[in-house]
């Protein structure tokens, strides 16, 4: 297998290449006409390079998934010093925690880039810059997943927001009642607030653990795990990390940026933002917080579970009163990410496994959902208000079927991969805090209401005023069908993800799990060092 750096930097390199290509628009003087009758901008060479790059990354990611040996520790490790003076490594590895997420990330980015290439209006204006930013974002996200060094992780985590700032601010939409620049600034400040706090926390982690351990500062995860912090330090640092991750997800009540942000984003950007970026936060909890701050995780377990629960209930309640289709998707994400948080803070393997699976599943459903919303808006005279949609299933049976599959997966229909994830999550929580699991089920019921409501209002009932029902095009299908195929695949065989992640997930939650286990039960694993040794081999 090629070194991980290739996977990491390939998208950015392609973006740069595309940016350096001559603009393609000048060469094709007559614009073709889109099915909608609108003038279609010709596709740009930068877009094609971007597509090729993202597909290549997808191919590489699939190769890593196939190659990953379940039960092994970190694989394909790349480890060099980045800033030796600060003990910061450039350390990348494929682990059970990130291997599937890599596949998901590259898939969604490829789909988003394809979507931007094929959408009815043609590729965006100034395509070279657009694709450069999008691919830079992809590299940053991949970097955040691959990073095995705390500072490197934080750096990628913060970095990925910057391209999005440009993407939303420059190519965003100006929906009623808000301007994209303002929305973008709000979004970026909101999310960077957490990230910067996390930076302080990360630096403190390295310095304090070096002080306590008496060694040199070393930010590699593997090194930090060996030098656990005191409980007090863990707790305040935990809060900083939690702030960053919860904002990114977003979780109630830190979701203030979400409504404006979602409405302002161009759809292909939103697909990856909602699908992928939110998962980096959840991944951070699993890969960073639980192994490094197990005591704090245990200390704040109930708080985090309650936050997650509030997100579920609040997000769901919002999702079935909103009429903006995007916001329904947005608030449903709040609720779904709530489930994921819930699973992680069950602090046992079932919950964490479910959470990891659900991260992939949610990404796989929310991206096509948002794309479908855009397609619906095209048919409803540009409006994304579900009150102005309706009744197009008959003329668009394929779109309706795809939408139905996505909607059912969104509500975690048993038989979908999402259900497998949710089942494990709630089982984990049930073991940890029975009452919270039972209340969380309200979210499951509510999900069925809002997902079906969206589907019915858009597809069924009478044809809305100003709606022109028509089938989706082959181009749209090229975006949607592969993702739906993956959804169906995970519906039949979620074990693919679970098998690979099992060992790593156990390693990630092991310490916290031991701490939550009542003493008389943990007699078998009394020796914490044993656990530390076990996890450090991961």
């Amino acid at each position: 297998m090629p070194p991980l750096s290739i996977l990491l930097w390939l998208p950015a390199a392609c973006g740069l290449l595309g940016a350096l290509l001559p603009a393609g628009a000048a060469r094709i003087p007559t614009p073709a006409t889109a099915p909608g009758g609108k003038v279609r901008r010709p596709s740009s060479p930068a877009g094609i390079v971007a597509l090729l790059g993202s597909l290549a990354a997808l191919g590489l990611a699939i190769a890593y998934i196939a190659d990953y040996k379940a039960g092994g520790g970190p694989q394909h490790v790349t480890d060099t010093m980045w800033i030796s003076s600060l003990g910061i490594h450039y350390k990348l590895a494929v682990t059970g925690l990130n291997v599937i997420l890599l596949g998901m990330t590259t898939l969604l980015f490829a789909a988003a880039i394809l979507a931007s290439n094929v959408r009815a209006g043609g590729p965006p204006e100034r395509p070279r810059l657009f694709y450069f930013q999008l691919l830079l974002a992809e590299s940053a996200v991949i970097g955040a997943f691959l990073a095995q060094d705390l500072i490197l992780f934080v750096a990628f985590f913060d970095l990925m927001l910057i391209p999005f700032y440009f993407l939303i601010g420059t190519w965003g939409r100006d929906p009623e009642g808000s301007t994209r620049v303002r929305a973008t600034t709000k979004l970026v400040i909101y999310t960077l607030v957490g990230s910067l706090l996390m930076l302080a926390g990360a630096v403190a982690t390295g310095v304090l653990s070096a002080q306590q351990g008496g060694g040199h500062v070393d930010f590699a995860f593997s090194a930090l795990q060996h030098m656990p912090l005191s409980t007090g330090s863990q707790e305040w640092i935990f809060l900083m990390f939690a702030a960053a991750f919860l904002v990114k997800m977003p979780a109630f009540p830190l979701h203030g940026w979400m409504p404006d942000g979602y409405r302002a984003m161009p759809v292909e950007v939103l697909m990856v933002f909602s699908g992928v970026l939110s998962k980096v936060g959840a991944y951070g909890f699993l890969a960073v917080v639980l192994p490094l701050f197990p005591r704090a995780a245990v200390h704040f377990q109930t708080v985090m579970l309650l936050v997650a629960l509030a997100s579920i209930i609040y997000g769901s309640a919002q999702a079935f009163t909103q009429t903006d289709a995007r916001l329904i998707a947005g608030y449903s994400s709040v609720a779904q990410l709530g489930f994921i948080t819930l699973g992680i803070f069950a602090l046992n393997s079932q919950g964490a496994q479910g959470a990891l699976l659900q991260m992939v599943n949610h990404a796989l459903v929310v991206a096509p959902l948002l794309f479908i919303v855009a397609l619906l808006a095209e048919r409803a005279g540009g409006s994304e208000d579900i009150r102005r949609m309706g009744g197009i299933a008959f003329r668009a049976p394929v779109l309706a079927s795809v939408f139905l599959i996505v909607a059912l997966a969104t509500l975690a229909m048993p038989g979908s991969g999402n259900f497998a994830g949710e089942f494990l999550i709630l089982l984990g929580v049930f073991k940890a805090k029975q009452a919270i699991a039972i209340i969380a089920f309200a979210g499951v019921v509510m999900a069925s209401v809002y997902a079906l409501r969206l589907f019915i209002r858009a597809m069924h009932n009478r044809v809305g005023p100003g709606v022109t029902p028509r089938e989706m095009t082959v181009r749209d299908g090229a975006v949607l069908v592969p993702i739906v195929a993956v959804i169906l695949f995970f519906a039949l065989y979620p074990q693919l993800a679970l098998k690979r992640s099992e060992r790593s997930v156990q390693g990630a939650v092991a310490q916290a799990q031991v701490l939550t286990t009542p003493r008389h039960l943990s007699a078998r694993v009394t020796d914490l060092d044993q656990v530390f040794n076990a996890t450090s081999q991961e």
Partner: protein, 520 residues
């Protein structure tokens, strides 16, 4: 040390020309430039003089590098040549070079007849260099005055513009108060310890007895005030926005960076060497000042429509960050401060170069509106500005982040973790004014720029806004890009990016600056 002094007495005054050579180059350059400035030829004035200044700065640069690795006290122990002063010299000279380039075709230089302008600039750099290596209180004060007085004048070099004059005058008056404060402080410390030598003071304080003396403490307090004034630490920062805004932009660029470098050099040497024994009494005070500064600077910058004013507040905030490195009084802290100074140079120069270019091109002064549509029009300017803003905010892949990481590490390491958090909180607020700049460049169209008010919706038009409308109209607009300005912007921007990704050279650069503080 005593041995050195003893030998000096025996052999008579020994002048280490090697150690002094950068200073000599600068001052000599100043004289030559002043002379050439008297020549009537327009070409000599407008082209040769700046070139000569560059030559002087280049020579100083070369000599500084020549001295690399030296560890010695010169001029009877008044000055110290070591890694710290050499690195700071490097930064100062680089800042000087940028300033010369930016001023090359500026109205300020022209109105000051070129020669004077550049001579003052060089003198000021010399003063700063002196300050950065000063090792006794007298040299400290001399350096301070040598850097300040030319700057007062430089601020007023756009003689036909009211605000420029006002800026210079204001700086002069308030600056004098600051200098006087410092002078009193130094005098009191001398009174308490009986020596002007830093190591002497340190030894005296270490010996005990005087460290909690009223005289000493009052002296320290006054010194804090004086140095804080130079470094724009709140609440001694108030001159900063007005002066930065009123001064000609190249001068602003120059002073924004270099006065900070010099002041923090002095801070490092004075507090972390001479007063190290009293760290427990001044550190909390400085920490509090740093906090206030970070808050005031960041909060003040919000909603400013003048870029220079915004950057002035931003420089206040940045000074607060750097002060954190002084507070902890550790090797790590010193290195972090120096490293931050280096990246601060890059980021600010990139930003100011862009402002200079836009000022000359749009006639909208330094308003944020002047940047509208820049991303599409001149990516070569927009990218450096973008990187500068991201860097100042501390975003990854810019040197700014590295600087901040190092500072936070130093604070946590020194037991001031909360100060690290304050730095981060300040960075968050700072996004509120850095991001709109980026938004203006990339997310607005140039056509919309005209519609934008000269001043943002927030607050009244600043009373001291840079560039009066009539004069701007008279000045011919510059079409296209001026090479030297773009050069500064691109080099500084590229450096911001490069050292954000490959920061190790920066760490190598500053590695020994901490060890220069002998007692630490």
């Amino acid at each position: 040390m005593t041995f050195l002094l003893a030998t000096a007495h025996l052999k008579g005054p020994h002048v280490d020309f090697g150690g002094l050579s950068p200073l000599i180059a600068l001052l000599g350059g100043a004289v030559i430039v002043l002379m050439f400035g008297l020549i009537g030829s327009q070409w000599v004035r407008a082209q040769l003089v700046p070139a000569l200044s560059l030559g002087a700065l280049g020579a100083a640069l070369g000599l500084t590098i020549w001295q690399w690795g030296a560890e010695k006290s010169i001029v009877s122990g008044a000055l110290r040549i070591d890694a710290l002063s050499l690195v700071l010299n490097l930064v100062l000279i680089a800042g000087g070079i940028c300033a010369v380039l930016l001023a090359w075709r500026s109205r300020a230089a022209e109105e000051a007849a070129h020669g004077e302008f550049h001579a003052l600039l060089l003198t000021s750099v010399a003063g700063m260099s002196l300050l950065a290596s000063a090792q006794n209180t007298v040299a400290l004060f001399v350096g301070l005055e040598l850097l300040s007085i030319p700057l007062y004048v430089l601020c007023a070099t756009e003689m036909r513009r009211e605000h420029s004059l006002e800026s210079g005058l204001k700086y002069l008056i308030v600056g004098s108060v600051g200098s006087a404060t410092l002078l009193y402080g130094l005098a009191m410390i001398y009174g308490a310890t009986g020596t002007t030598d830093f190591s002497g003071i340190a030894a005296k304080l270490a010996a005990g007895g005087v460290s909690s003396d009223v005289l000493t403490l009052t002296g320290i307090a006054l010194c804090v005030g004086g140095l804080c004034f130079k470094a724009s630490i709140a609440p001694f920062h108030q001159w900063t926005p007005d002066v930065y805004e009123g001064a000609p932009t190249p001068v602003t660029a120059f002073m924004a960076v270099t006065t900070k470098v010099a002041a923090f050099g002095a801070f490092l040497r004075f507090f972390d060497v001479a007063l190290i024994e009293t760290q427990s009494s001044w550190a909390p005070a400085l920490a509090a000042l740093a906090t206030i500064t970070i808050i005031v600077g960041n909060v003040g910058a919000l909603g400013q429509s003048s870029l220079k004013r915004m950057l002035a507040y931003s420089s206040v905030a940045q000074a607060g960050y750097m002060l954190a490195g002084i507070v902890v009084a550790t090797k790590l802290g010193a290195q972090a401060t120096v490293l931050y100074l280096v990246v601060y140079l890059m980021m600010n120069m990139a930003a100011f170069a862009t402002i200079v270019a836009r000022e000359r091109a749009t006639g909208q002064g330094d308003s944020i509106a002047s940047l509208a549509g820049l991303g599409r029009e001149h990516p070569l300017l927009a990218w450096p500005m973008t990187l500068a803003m991201l860097g100042l905010a501390g975003i990854p892949a810019t040197a700014g982040l590295i600087g901040k990481i190092y500072l936070i590490e130093a604070t946590v390491d020194g037991g001031y973790a909360w100060l690290g958090v304050v730095i981060v909180l300040g960075s968050m607020i700072s996004l509120g004014y850095y991001l709109p700049v980026i938004a203006a460049m990339w997310m607005r169209d140039a056509s919309a720029a005209g519609a934008l008010p000269r001043s943002g919706g927030e607050g009244p038009l600043p009373a001291l806004a840079g560039g009066s409308a009539e004069l701007d109209e008279q000045e011919p607009r510059v079409r296209g890009l001026q090479l030297e300005v773009v050069l500064v912007a691109v080099v500084a921007g590229a450096a911001t990016l490069f050292f954000g990704i490959v920061p190790q050279p920066l760490f190598e650069l500053v590695r020994h600056t901490g060890s220069a503080l002998g007692l630490l």
